[in-house]
C-alpha cells in the first residue's frame, strides 16, 4: 500500500454493492466511507480527508460524470469511475471529465484493488511533481503514450495493442526514464503485492512489451535488462502538450 491505510469514499446508489465494496476494501486494509449520492458525497468530503474517490456513473440526481468534473475542478483527489455501461464512449468521456481510471461493472474486485493501488501510487508520485508526472501523454523516440486514452502509438501513428497490465508497466517505465527499477519495485508500482496471482510476472510483461516496441526484441535497446538489478528505460521521454479536448 502506498499509504498506510488510505481513506476511500465509495459513492454508489445500490445499497448492497456499496456495502460489499466497503466490506471488501476494509478487508484489504482501507478505511472506507460510503455515500448514496452527490449531496452525501460532498458532505463526506467536507467531513474527513478522502484519499481516493470511487464514483458510480449512474446516480440519482446529479450523475457521476458531472460530479467527477465538479470534484476535479476543486481538488486533485484521485477518482475511479464505475459504470454499468461498458462502452468506449463512456470510458473516454469519464477520463476526459478528469477521472484517473475506469472500471466497468461487473468488475473483478481484485482488479479494483489493483487499480486503487496503482492510482494512489501515481498520485503520490505526482506530488513530487516533475513535468513528466503531470503530463497526460509522453513521447519517446517518436512513440507516444497517452494516459487518458490508455493507448500507445508507434512512430508511424499506428495504435499498438496492449493489455492494461502491459500499459501500466510501460507507463511506469516512461515516468521513470534512466532509472534502474527492480522487479520488486516494478511490482509495487504497478500491481501491488496483494493484487493476487492472476497477473503475469514482470519478466513476461517486459518481454511482451519488448516484442511490441523494440526493433529487435532479442537485443533490447529501450527496456534494458540490468544485471542483478532489474530493468531500465533508456530513451529520453518528453511530455506532450495535449490541446483541451483534443482526441482523435
Amino acid at each position: 500500500m502506498a499509504t498506510a491505510s488510505p481513506n476511500i469514499l465509495v459513492v454508489d446508489d445500490d445499497r448492497e454493492t456499496r456495502s460489499l465494496i466497503a466490506k471488501y476494501l476494509r478487508g484489504n486494509g482501507c478505511n472506507v466511507t460510503v455515500a448514496i449520492d452527490g449531496r452525501e458525497m460532498v458532505r463526506a468530503m467536507a467531513d474527513h480527508r478522502v484519499d481516493l474517490l470511487i464514483l458510480d456513473v449512474m446516480l440519482p440526481g446529479e450523475d457521476g460524470l458531472s460530479l467527477c468534473r465538479k470534484v476535479r475542478a476543486e481538488s486533485q483527489v484521485p477518482i475511479i469511475m464505475l459504470t454499468a455501461r461498458g462502452e468506449d464512449v463512456d470510458r473516454i468521456l469519464g477520463l476526459e471529465m478528469g477521472a484517473d481510471d475506469y472500471l466497468a461493472k461487473p468488475f473483478n474486485p481484485r482488479e479494483l484493488l489493483a487499480r486503487i493501488n496503482a492510482v494512489l501510487r501515481r498520485h503520490a508520485a505526482a506530488q513530487t511533481a516533475t513535468a513528466i508526472n503531470g503530463a497526460t501523454a509522453l513521447t519517446f523516440l517518436g512513440w507516444r503514450i497517452d494516459f487518458r486514452l490508455r493507448e500507445l502509438r508507434n512512430p508511424a501513428g499506428a495504435r499498438v495493442a496492449m493489455t492494461s497490465a502491459e500499459f501500466d508497466l510501460l507507463r511506469t517505465f516512461c515516468e521513470r526514464p534512466g532509472r534502474v527499477l527492480s522487479r520488486d519495485s516494478l511490482l509495487d508500482l504497478t500491481q501491488g503485492r496483494n493484487a493476487g496471482s492472476f497477473e503475469r510476472s514482470i519478466d513476461v510483461l517486459v518481454s511482451r512489451i519488448r516484442r511490441k516496441i523494440e526493433s529487435d526484441p532479442q537485443d533490447a535497446t529501450m527496456i534494458k535488462t540490468v544485471r542483478s538489478g532489474g530493468y531500465m528505460f533508456t530513451p529520453a521521454v518528453d511530455p506532450v502538450a495535449v490541446p483541451a479536448g483534443g482526441r482523435s
Binding site: D14, Y24, E87, K105, P109, A158, V160, A161, R211, P217
Partner: protein
C-alpha cells in the same frame, strides 16, 4: 366515386388516361393540319402547271415556221429548262401511237393536228415524243406527280407519330419511375438509419405507397431501437446483481467453491457482453484508426495463453492496417474462443500483402461440414447443440458478430476445412479503408 376514379387526374389511371387522350388529340391535330395544307386528294397544282407549259410550248413550236425553230428551241431551253425540249431527228420513227391515258389526255388537249407517242424503251420513261402538225417531232419531259410515299405530308406524319410515341414513352416512364426506386430503397434499407426516406411525390397511388413504406421503415427502426433499449436495459439491470455476486464471491472461504462461482459469473458476464456487442454492431461504430494489427493478434494470443489455452501466433512482428481496434479485437477473440472450445490447439496466422491483410484462425477440432457452414454464420446458431447443452457457453453469437465486424471493415470472412481435420476461419481485410463515409 370509385367508378369515376379514372377521372381523378392525381391518380395513376387518370394520368395514364390523360396521357393517351393527349397523344390521340395531338396526332389528330397534326394529321388534320397536314391534310388541309397538302390536300393529297387534289391534283398537284405544280404538275398541272407543268403540263400546261408543255402544251403551250408544243403549240408555240407547232404554229411557228420551221426556220424559226432552232432559235425557239434555244429560247425555250433557257426559259423552261425542266421541260428538256429537244428536236428529234427527222428520220425518227415513232414506236407506235399513244396507248396510255396520260398521252391520250395530252393529245386531246393539244388538238387533232398533234400526235403523241412514247419514246422507245431505254430512253428516259418520263419523256414523251410529240409530232407537230407539220410532221416535225420533239421530245419533252413529262412532269409526273411524285409517288405518294415521297409526299411531304407523309414525312410530316411519320415525324409526328415518332415524336408523339417518344413523348408518350417518356411521360409513362416519368409516371412509373418512382415505382422502380421503391425496389432499390427496399433493398438498401438498413438498420443504421443512414438511408434517406423515399421522396413522396408523383401520382397519388405512388405517393401513398411511398408514405406507407416510409412509415413502415420508421416502425421497423423504432422496433429495433426498442429491442436494443430493452436488451440494454436487461443487461444493465443484470450487471448490478452480477456485481454484487462477484463481490460476495470474494468472501467465500472454500476455494473450489469460489472459483466455480467466479467461473459462472464470468460466463454470465461474457454472455451479456456478447449480446450488447451484437446489438451495438449496426450502430455506434468505433472510429477507424491506423493500428499495428500484428500486436493486436499477439495480444489475443497472450491473453488466451494466460488462460491456459494452447494458442500460437504465426506472422510478422508488425503490420499496419486501418481498422476499428476494439471491434477487430472482439472479432478475432470470438474466433479464437470457438477454436479453443472445439480444438485442442489453435493458431492465429497473419499474412500481409500491400493491400490485403489475411488473418486465419485455425483449430484442430472436428470442423464444420459444408452443409452447416452457411448456417453457422447466422446469429444464435451453435456448432453442436447436443454437446453444448451442459456447457451453455454462449448464445451462438460469436461467429455472427465476427462476420458483422469484418463486413463493416469492407472485408470478407470464410469458413474453410483444415487437413486432416479442423476449421480455418479466414478473414480478409483491406489494409486501407476507401474513405470515411463509405465506412458508415
Amino acid at each position: 366515386m370509385k367508378l369515376l376514379g379514372f377521372l381523378n387526374l392525381r391518380g395513376i389511371s387518370g394520368q395514364i388516361a390523360a396521357l393517351v387522350l393527349a397523344s390521340i388529340v395531338a396526332i389528330h391535330l397534326i394529321l388534320t393540319t397536314t391534310f388541309l395544307i397538302n390536300r393529297p386528294d387534289q391534283p398537284d397544282p405544280s404538275i398541272d402547271r407543268g403540263h400546261n407549259q408543255l402544251l403551250a410550248v408544243a403549240q408555240l413550236l407547232g404554229t411557228s415556221p420551221a426556220a424559226d425553230r432552232p432559235q425557239l428551241f434555244a429560247d425555250i431551253a433557257k426559259t423552261f429548262p425542266q421541260l428538256e425540249i429537244e428536236a428529234l431527228p427527222p428520220d425518227f420513227v415513232p414506236a407506235g401511237d399513244a396507248d396510255n391515258p396520260e398521252l391520250h389526255s395530252l393529245r386531246r388537249r393539244l388538238g387533232n393536228n398533234y400526235r403523241t407517242f412514247p419514246l422507245p424503251k431505254g430512253e428516259d420513261t418520263n419523256k414523251v415524243g410529240i409530232a407537230l402538225p407539220d410532221g416535225a417531232m420533239i421530245s419533252a419531259k413529262l412532269l409526273r406527280p411524285r409517288p405518294f410515299w415521297q409526299g411531304q405530308w407523309v414525312l410530316t406524319l411519320l415525324f409526328a407519330v415518332v415524336s408523339v410515341t417518344l413523348l408518350g414513352l417518356w411521360a409513362a416512364r416519368a409516371l412509373t419511375a418512382p415505382l422502380s426506386s421503391f425496389a432499390k430503397a427496399a433493398e438498401d434499407f438498413s438498420l443504421n438509419g443512414a438511408a434517406a426516406p423515399l421522396p413522396e411525390r408523383g401520382p397519388e397511388e405512388i405517393r401513398s405507397v411511398a408514405k406507407a413504406l416510409n412509415r413502415m421503415r420508421e416502425r421497423i427502426t423504432t422496433l429495433i431501437d426498442d429491442r436494443t433499449k430493452m436488451l440494454a436495459a436487461i443487461s444493465h439491470d443484470l450487471r448490478t446483481p452480477i456485481t454484487r455476486m462477484r463481490l460476495r464471491a470474494e468472501f467465500i472461504e472454500d476455494d473450489a467453491h469460489r472459483s466455480r462461482m467466479l467461473r459462472d459469473l464470468e460466463q454470465m458476464r461474457s454472455m451479456l457482453e456478447a449480446v450488447l456487442s451484437f446489438l451495438r454492431n449496426d450502430r455506434k461504430l468505433e472510429s477507424m484508426t491506423l493500428v499495428d494489427i500484428a500486436t493486436s493478434l499477439q495480444l489475443i494470443t497472450d491473453q488466451f495463453a494466460d488462460m491456459g489455452h494452447k494458442v500460437a501466433y504465426d506472422g510478422p512482428e508488425h503490420a499496419m492496417a486501418t481498422v476499428r481496434p476494439d471491434d477487430l479485437h472482439r472479432s478475432v477473440t470470438n474466433l479464437v474462443e470457438n477454436a479453443v472450445r472445439y480444438g485442442a490447439e489453435a493458431t492465429i496466422r497473419l499474412r500481409v500483402s500491400p493491400d490485403t491483410a489475411t488473418i486465419e484462425v485455425e483449430d484442430d477440432g472436428p470442423g464444420i461440414s459444408d452443409a452447416r457452414k452457411e448456417v453457422m454464420l447466422e446469429p444464435f446458431v451453435r456448432g453442436d447443440d447436443a454437446r453444448n447443452m451442459d456447457e451453455a457457453s454462449g448464445f451462438g453469437l460469436g461467429l455472427s458478430i465476427a462476420r458483422t465486424i469484418v463486413l463493416a471493415h469492407h472485408g470478407a470472412m470464410s469458413l474453410n476445412d483444415r487437413q486432416p481435420h479442423g476449421l480455418i476461419v479466414r478473414i480478409q481485410l483491406p489494409v486501407r479503408q476507401p474513405n470515411r463515409q463509405a465506412a458508415a
